[in-house]
């Protein structure tokens, strides 16, 4: 699978999706076209799902989310990303660990992580204050 990398900007997070490394989405998210930004990320996880099904090999993935500000459209798409990750984690041969980091003062991001944790129960989402 090809690596997917996007550099961080003022209004978009850094995205690192590479097999063999920890996946991550870090930064603020309020792009002009949210669908255009997140659709390739969703597609990458769809492809990962297909790859895991075909390989049947036992694999562990880990992912970090560390966001400070998300506009509401980004929150919607992040939910779609997490849905795809949850589907992968439900495969018998996959263990998918997710870390949801937030700044210590940021109750808003902490609560969002907790919301996602309560929605996507098949995922192990650790909420980490930094």
């Amino acid at each position: 699978m090809r690596e997917y990398y996007l550099e961080k900007s003022k209004i978009t997070p850094e995205v690192k999706l590479k097999l063999g490394s920890q996946f991550s989405i870090i930064g603020d998210s309020r792009p002009e076209d949210v669908s255009e930004f997140y659709t390739p990320i969703i597609d990458w996880f769809l492809e990962l799902n297909r790859t895991c099904i075909e390989s049947e090999e036992k694999t562990t993935f880990s992912m970090v989310f560390f966001m400070e500000y998300l506009n509401s459209s980004s929150v919607i798409f992040l939910s779609k990303v997490l849905k795809k990750i949850a589907e992968i984690s439900e495969l018998d041969n996959v263990l998918f660990k997710v870390e949801w980091k937030h700044l210590e003062y940021d109750e808003d991001m902490k609560e969002l992580g907790e919301e996602f944790n309560s929605i996507y129960t098949s995922l192990e989402i650790s909420i980490v204050s930094v």
């Binding site: 459209s73 929150v75 919607i76």
Partner: protein, 184 residues
Amino acid sequence: MRVINTKQLSLSLFERMRANNIIMNYYGALSFGMAQHLIDDIYDSLNNTSLDRIIIKKIYSSFIEGVENIVKYSFYKENNRNFGVVNVSENEEGNYVVGVGNMILVSQKENLLLEINRLKDKSVDELKLDYRNFLKEAGEKEEITNGLGFLKMAIDCDNNIDFNFISIEEGVDFFLVEITIKVD
């Protein structure tokens, strides 16, 4: 309508805004680029206050949602541009008010009212439950659903959110949203 005396207008606006503790006010065309400048400006202004970071984030977040709504969802344009007004002020009680307004077609009013009525008279806990359900549905559905922006704004301000439709001309209303964030 033409302004005959621009000096008087500028002074009047300056005095009124100063008297009303307006931290920032913008009237004009709102492109995505312009919105980013305003967002950066309010971020800097708020970080130069002694406000708690959680409060700053709530004001900032409401501002962004409001401005982005005008940029993305203005159906009424003048000379092909979205026009709107956005401001942030501190009221007499020391609370912060984010005001966002733009012109809409009266035919758009029904859809807006549907979203607004979902928030009416609800407690913050009820709104948070709606938020969770919205996120769950959003993850499952292919299509993009609207309404999360107003819901988030309502949660951030403990549902101190006021919606107004004011008739401007035949078939056109001025839609004004005011969010009051309490500073404890």
